[in-house]
Symmetry: C2
């Protein structure tokens, strides 16, 4: 695999990308070449300092501009054609790289990938798939923000893409896919989710889905149910994901504040260090590494703005898995008969 | 205040309602009369056993049917006209009571109140307001499930109702109200949230809002921002609320599981008991008591299915506060000029 790394992306760039790249080169054998994109002189100096500047698997690609974390995504893509992010995406577009990874501005990466790479054959909209750790493994929530005004049929594409990710990246042989709703009963939902549910049920009955469709699930089912993939529009999914993150952060903060206030609790916390560490590790976004933007031509992984080197390493592993298992080709193959049936259904219903 | 209590509603009914009623009669002086609705003979026996069967402030009203926790709300309202829930709501409809309280089937209570009590003058849709404890106080999320297919203008009503609740129940003199979105910038959102944002901004500029409109906020802002009221449609709000609950429950469970596994952690947990207890108390839904269904004629409080007597007491206090401060009259008064301006705006825009 050849990876383009936006070395200037992220709150602590470029250093975390340097350190992450070093780990990725060390631990990911299938990483044939790493293209580090950004300020050439700076990156050269930092890679040399980190001891891998002379690696034959490293190539530094100059980019004179940087997309800020708070810039409008679309504006950044249009105006900063020579940003590290833009040039990293171009490397995939031009066939030099298989995958692009950035811890930079999410909106800009979504815009850059969607505009430059374009959509996979048979995919209507790209979507971000966010793995949330739960009691069994991970539940993959999709879309978490690429497409706030989703149509019901977009959820069919998200279902296929997320299920194939669950199978090939998280080793779940037959992923269980649900539509997020305000209740688990079939009758629950808004018009949008009910129509998505109906389409998925129809395709499941026609035996066209590469996963098991299990109907509706609700917020209470995120951590403790049979659901491997949670489908929703990018507006609700983004609010869901950030609310879950905020709750976990707040819970941890309240515990820390309580410990600081009470000497007895401070002693107790010492005994509980191992428990807190293991939960922290389980919840840590760096263990996941990044969230793929699925549905574009090429592999695109979006890492958290506060990603650390371990996140860059794990995101590289995710990109490598997506390439090795040809997940995109599998998406195209799965979508063809599904789209045919959806077209047939639409025609049938327009006649009635 | 005269309160109708659905004594048969809730996972642990009727006993928790008996115990809750006893506490409410003891601690809420303004509770002039409590109408307990359910199986008369059973309730009489239980109230006698609890020692307040002879209270002149208690009246037991017979209801031969019970709405199950898993029944369809609409079907239950139509078919079980003699359920404890239905008769409790009728007591408000007929002017015997000021407020109704139930820990029963939420869908059925929303349906019963909406159908029987009807909407307040100037209110387009009823909404559930759910207080979530945060770093400062509470953030009131509305709507959390009454209206999954909300229109942008419905959020204006939710804003007014929730802000008046924030002022009179949570003593926040000038509540700050935000639209939940997938980012805080004004440009972020789906079509629905952007239009709600536009209407609220217009009304704020016209000085017609009884609160401060602060624009968009995102999931990360739930616990640690200036937001007192978070507006969203009932579909997204329900998923948000349940996801937050599920995260807190899972976090607590992971800590408990970790403690059980490690002897050192078990000793540590003893020292941390006070911290865990204070967080548990802060998060406990029973401290809030219930969530009002706002926008109907009368006061309706929906308690959690697993409510305990303390929840019933606190929900009674909430109902009493809503009555004492005439929150419904204030909603009607605030909505009149707002609706006039929204009509004027719609006409102006239809001409253009």
């Amino acid at each position: 695999m050849k990876l383009a790394l936006d070395a200037m992306g992220g709150d602590n760039a470029p250093q975390i990308n340097i350190d992450g790249a070093k780990e990725a080169l060390q631990h990911v054998d299938a990483l044939d070449k790493l293209y580090m994109v950004g300020d050439e002189a700076l990156l050269k100096r930092l890679c040399d300092a980190a001891g891998f500047g002379g690696s034959p698997r490293l190539e530094i690609v100059h980019a004179p501009e940087v997309v800020g974390m708070d810039e409008s995504g679309l504006v950044a893509v249009r105006q900063k054609k020579h940003s590290s992010m833009s040039i990293a995406v171009d490397l995939v577009k031009d066939g030099v790289c298989d995958a692009v990874l950035s811890a930079g501005n999410t909106g800009a990466e979504v815009a850059a990938c969607t505009i430059k790479l374009r959509l996979l054959e048979g995919v209507e909209r790209a979507g971000i798939v966010s793995p949330i750790p739960n009691n069994r493994n991970y539940v993959l929530v999709s879309d978490t923000g690429a497409n706030p005004d989703a149509k019901p049929s977009h959820l069919v594409g998200y279902a296929v893409m997320s299920a194939l990710m669950a199978r090939y990246i998280y080793n779940i042989p037959e992923p269980k896919v649900a539509v997020m709703s305000n209740g688990t009963e079939d009758c629950k939902g808004c018009e949008f989710s009910k129509e998505a549910h109906r389409l998925l049920r129809h395709l499941a009955d026609a035996n066209l889905l590469p996963f098991q469709f299990i109907g509706n699930r609700e917020g209470h089912d995120l951590f403790d149910s049979d659901m491997d993939v949670a489908l929703t529009d990018g507006f609700t999914g983004n609010i869901l994901l950030k609310s879950v993150e905020a709750t976990a952060i707040t819970f941890a903060r309240w515990i820390k504040d309580g410990i600081k206030k009470h000497p007895m609790a401070m002693v107790g916390a010492l005994g509980m260090r191992g428990v807190f560490r293991s939960i922290g590790d389980r919840l840590n976004a760096d263990s996941v590494g990044g969230c793929p933007l699925m549905g574009v031509r090429g592999v695109s992984i979006i890492a958290h703005g506060s990603a650390n080197p371990r996140a860059i390493l794990n995101a590289t592993r995710m990109a490598e898995g997506m390439c090795r298992h040809s997940v995109n080709d599998r998406i195209i193959a799965a979508m063809a008969p599904i789209n045919e049936e959806l077209r047939r259904l639409a025609e049938e219903e327009s006649v009635v």
